[in-house]
Structure formats: C-alpha cells, structure tokens
C-alpha cells in the first residue's frame, strides 16, 4: 500500500530533521518543566483547598495537556517554512499519497509528544507525584489523540494560509481561551470558589472534560463517567482534526 510506505518515508525524513535540530523539542519541553518547577510549589499548600491529596498528581495532567495542545497546535509554522522552501510542492508533484504527506508529519509530532510526555511524567515522579501507572499510560494515549487532532488541523490551516502572519493570530486566539477556560492550571469548579458564570462558560470547552478525565486517570479511576466524557471528546476532536487535515491535503490546489 503506497499510503503506508509514503507515510513512513515522510515520517522518517521529518523525524530526522527534528532530531538534527533538537532545540525545538527541548524548548517545547522546557515550558511545562518550568511550570512544574516554578508553579508547582505554589500549588502545594493549596492541595487541600483544590481537593486533592497530591498537588503534583493534580498538576501534571494539566501540563501534559498544555504540552499536547501547544506543541502540536504550532506545528503549522514549520509547514509554512517548508512551503516557502518549496519542499511541499516538491512532495506534491510526486505520486505520493496526499494524506501520507499529512500523516507522516503528524506521526513525527506524536513521536516527539510521546517522548516529552514520558519525560514530564518521570519528572513529576521526581517532584513527588504519585498515582496509577495504568491511568497515566491511558492518559498519554488521550494526549496523543489530542496532539494528533491539533497538529493535523494546524497543518491544514497552515497549508491554506501559507503565512505565519495569518496563522499566528488564529492559533493564539484558539490557544489562550483554551488555556484559561479548560482549568489546566487551576480547577474551575464551584467547589474551589469559581463564580458560576465562569464555570458555565468553561463547560463549553471540550478540553476541560479531557483535563478532568486525565486527573481521574492519574489517581487510578479508569472507568468513570468523567473519563468516558474525556475520551469521547478527544476522539471527536481527533476525528475532526484528521478529517479537516486530510481533506485540505487532498485538495487539488492547496
């Protein structure tokens, strides 16, 4: 099947280039690590108020989401510079499967995300996080689905706009509300004193359900309503992202 082979060729090339310039991989990881080191200690005394036994077990899932969301969401910038160098057209003029051009890149992002996620969890343990290993593994799977959705959508948007200047405001206007309304840093719930209107608004943020699901998974509550909602939402996002991405890459004159 040429789809799998082409995906593999693109993936290998992308991974090689990413590893040759690991600065981005490291910068991507530095952000959550800094949050862990500099923001984590502030959460510790609040653990009881938030309603958790261990501040880090509460905090690391949010950071993982941040990692999956932001790293992947900004993947499109790389595609714009590839476009400018003529790489995309050079690939599109070959008989390569169009979707493979997307999937090879998404898989590269997911590989990096997986490594970053494992490093972050390991660091979490070093800081004193405790929890269910199975839950964490399942949590990572959900993060990969989220990352896949974001990077596919980001690539599609980049291929349509072909300009960093057009891409940046759109991505930022998605990223910021998500960061604030999904309860990534602090929980948004009545129990911890959030105003009702803010809770209501955040209820419309699909990522919030994923954050909640991840927190449940990390403490070992695998099969609950919360984790099911999280998984459902992330699967939906994944399907949408992949659909949008594939459709854009298949268009004749993207």
């Amino acid at each position: 099947m040429t789809f799998f082979y082409d995906t593999w060729v693109i993936y290998r090339r992308q991974l090689r280039l990413a590893l040759r310039n690991p600065a981005w991989v490291i910068i991507g990881l530095a952000q959550p690590v800094l949050y862990l080191a500099l923001f984590g200690p502030l959460l510790k005394p609040l653990a009881a108020q938030i309603g958790t036994a261990n501040a880090y077990t509460f905090f690391v899932p949010g950071l993982l989401i941040q990692l999956g969301l932001f790293g992947a969401l900004f993947a499109g910038f790389g595609l714009v510079s590839e476009w400018r160098e003529g790489v995309i057209e050079a690939e599109r003029v070959t008989p390569a499967n169009r979707a493979a051009l997307l999937f090879g890149r998404v898989l590269r992002d997911l590989s990096l995300l997986l490594v970053q996620g494992i490093v972050l969890i390991a660091l979490g343990f070093a800081f004193g996080m405790r929890g269910s290993l199975l839950g964490m593994i399942l949590g990572l799977v959900l993060i990969l689905l989220l990352g896949g959705a974001c990077s596919a959508a980001s690539y599609a948007l980049a291929l349509t706009l072909k300009s960093e200047d057009a891409l940046a405001p759109i991505l930022n206007s998605i990223a910021l509300p998500v960061l604030l309304l999904a309860g990534i840093l602090l929980p948004i719930s009545i129990a911890t004193g959030a105003p009702q209107w803010l809770v209501t608004v955040s209820d419309f943020m699909p990522i919030k359900y994923l954050v909640n699901a991840l927190r449940e998974l990390f403490v070992g509550h695998v099969l609950t309503i919360t984790t099911m909602w999280g998984a459902l939402w992330v699967l939906l996002l994944f399907a949408l992202g992949i659909f949008y991405g594939t459709r854009t890459f298949r268009k004749d004159n993207a």
């Binding site: 040429t2 082409d6 060729v9 290998r12 090339r13 090689r16 280039l17 040759r20 310039n21 590839e82 160098e85 003529g86 790489v87 057209e89 050079a90 690939e91 599109r92 003029v93 070959t94 008989p95 390569a96 004749d252 004159n253």
Partner: protein, 321 residues
C-alpha cells in the same frame, strides 16, 4: 507528450478591500511532441510558472483540458505525476536537511529503491558538478549549487517528461553551459522530452527546437529559434558620446556597419543593430578614433527576449507590465 487546449487560470486576490480576479493564464494551446525540447519564453508575470503548475497537477485549471505524458490531467493526475519531473522556480529542499538525503527521499516517493536512488543521485551530482556535496546541508550551498541540487531532485527518477522552471537562474556562465549540455544529453541519451521556461533568448536558442512566447497569459508566438531570431537583426550597439558636436560623425560611422539601416540618435546616445557586433567593434573604434570622436561609453547588447518581443508585438516587454 503535452497537448493542452484552452488552459486557463484565474486567481482571486484582494487589492485593498475589493476582490479582483487576476487572469494569470488566459487559455493557452500547447503541443509538445515526444523527444522535443521546447522553450517557454516570457517576461515576469507572463504566466509561465502558472502554466507549468497546471501541467504538473499542482494547480487546478479554471478551464481547459490537457493530456500530459499520455494521461488526462484532470482524471488521472497520479499517472501524470509518475511520468513527469518538475524543477520549480523556487527551490525544493530543506536548508537543514542533507543534499543526498533529500534526493533519496524524493526518489523513494516515486517508488524507486533506495539503492537505485542513491546510485542515480550520485551520478547526477557528478554530471551537475556537485561532487562532494552529497552530505552537505543545502543552506550551506551557494545559490547556484542549490539550484543544481533542485535540478537533480527533478531528474532523479528519470522521468520521460521534464518541466524546468527557469533552471539556469543564478548559475554562472560556465555552470549554465554545463547545464545546457546536460539537458541536451538527457534528450539524446534517454529520449527525455523537455519543457523549460526562461527569460533568456540565448538559452532558448542554444537548447530548444521550438519556442513559445507568452505574454499576459497569452501565447503570442510559437516558432523555431532561427525563425524568431531572423526577426531581430543583430546586436544593439550603443555609443555614448562626450559632446553634442560629434554625434553626427559617430552616427555616420555606425551606419556604415549596416546595409539598409541607419543609426538612431537620442541626445548623446547613438545606437543601431549590427550583425556580429563583436567582430565589427575593433574597426568601428579605430574609425571613430581616426575621426577624432571621443566616446564616453560604449555598450553592446545581444538580442534579448525584449528585442524579439519588441519586433513581434511592436512594444517593449517592460513598458506596461
């Protein structure tokens, strides 16, 4: 090999607030037979790249049809892609990759084995004078070297039809001559059909069996280089004089070099088209010297695309571009 009918492309762009439709290519007919080398000549913005991008399946035509390498462009794009190679005007490799890896990966997407790709790639590196650059990062290569890498990318799978978009921009004269040899070798040794765009008449002249001239998205002439050149008589010799009083003398000496033309006078500048100007120049300079004419400058221009265009359409290429 290429048969296009009424191929057209309009772009929707924004000019300030209002939307305007830019007619990049306005219905061209193109016929290229197997084994031909055809040049596509035109000024900036004429629609060369747009036409090539349509013929290579990268851009959907607004209207018109084409068969490329025996397959219908709209219905069998994958088969078209398999048969053709394309060297774009604007590069094809990532700066931080390695030249050889880019070549091999590109070939893999055509379904060629890695071993075969490396063998053919290295052969092309030798022929295009890129020896020792296999492991180089394109960003560290000079403009001309990177251009030749692009050309190797487009040829690595030995396509039977190659589209080259301004292959020689940025190449020094020696590299350009070498490229010309390589391109004609492709035809003689592999029977490759070649469709290339250029701004240079000498390039089209040296390489092409036929030339299509395009302007404002319309093909304005299609002929052999010889036939086109016949319409432009010789090189343009321009004498810039030091003083007004010597203009007439200079003009009469210059006019002697033509059979039925006379020199044009424009202020201090005297100019005329002269066959084989290079050979005539020493004699002209001696004669002017003998007549006591002092030259401020002298310039000889070979017939350019602009001149062909001027002769053919009665207006300059750049006048209202």
């Amino acid at each position: 090999m290429i048969h296009a009918r009424g191929l057209a492309r309009t772009f929707d762009t924004k000019r300030g607030r209002e939307r305007v439709a830019v007619k990049a290519v306005g219905g061209v007919d193109i016929d290229v037979e197997e084994g031909e080398i055809v040049g596509f000549l035109g000024p900036n913005g004429a629609g060369k790249t747009t036409t090539l991008r349509m013929l290579t399946t990268l851009l959907k035509p607004t209207s018109g049809t084409a068969t490329v390498a025996g397959f219908d462009l709209a219905r069998e794009p994958v088969k078209v892609r398999k048969a053709i190679g394309y060297v774009s005007q604007s590069g094809s490799t990532a700066g931080i990759a390695r030249a050889g890896e880019e070549i091999v990966d590109h070939a893999l997407l055509y379904g060629i084995s890695a071993g075969q790709a490396e063998k053919r790639g290295k052969e092309l590196f030798d022929q295009l004078e890129l020896e020792g650059m296999w492991a180089r990062q394109p960003k560290t290569m000079s403009g001309g070297q990177r251009r030749r890498l692009d050309i190797a990318m487009g040829l690595v799978h030995d396509p039977k039809l190659v589209f080259l978009d301004e292959p020689s921009t940025g190449l020094d004269p020696q590299a350009r001559a070498n490229l010309w040899t390589h391109i004609s070798d492709l035809r003689t040794k592999l029977g490759t059909t070649i469709f290339l765009t250029t701004h240079y008449l000498d390039e089209a002249d040296a390489l092409c069996d036929r030339i299509l001239v395009i302007d404002h998205g319309v093909i304005v002439a299609a002929d052999t280089p010889d036939a086109l050149k016949r319409e432009v008589a010789g090189d343009l010799v321009e004498l810039v004089l030091a003083s007004e009083s010597e203009v007439a003398t200079a003009a009469s000496h210059l006019s002697k070099l033509g059979t039925n033309t006379t020199a044009d006078i424009d202020g201090l500048v005297v100019s005329m088209r002269v066959q084989h100007a290079g050979a005539e120049l020493p004699g002209l300079l001696r004669a002017l010297d003998g007549a006591g004419v002092t030259l401020a400058a002298i310039e000889v221009r070979r017939p350019t695309l602009d001149d062909v265009f001027l002769t053919m359409t009665g207006r300059s290429l750049r006048e209202d571009a």
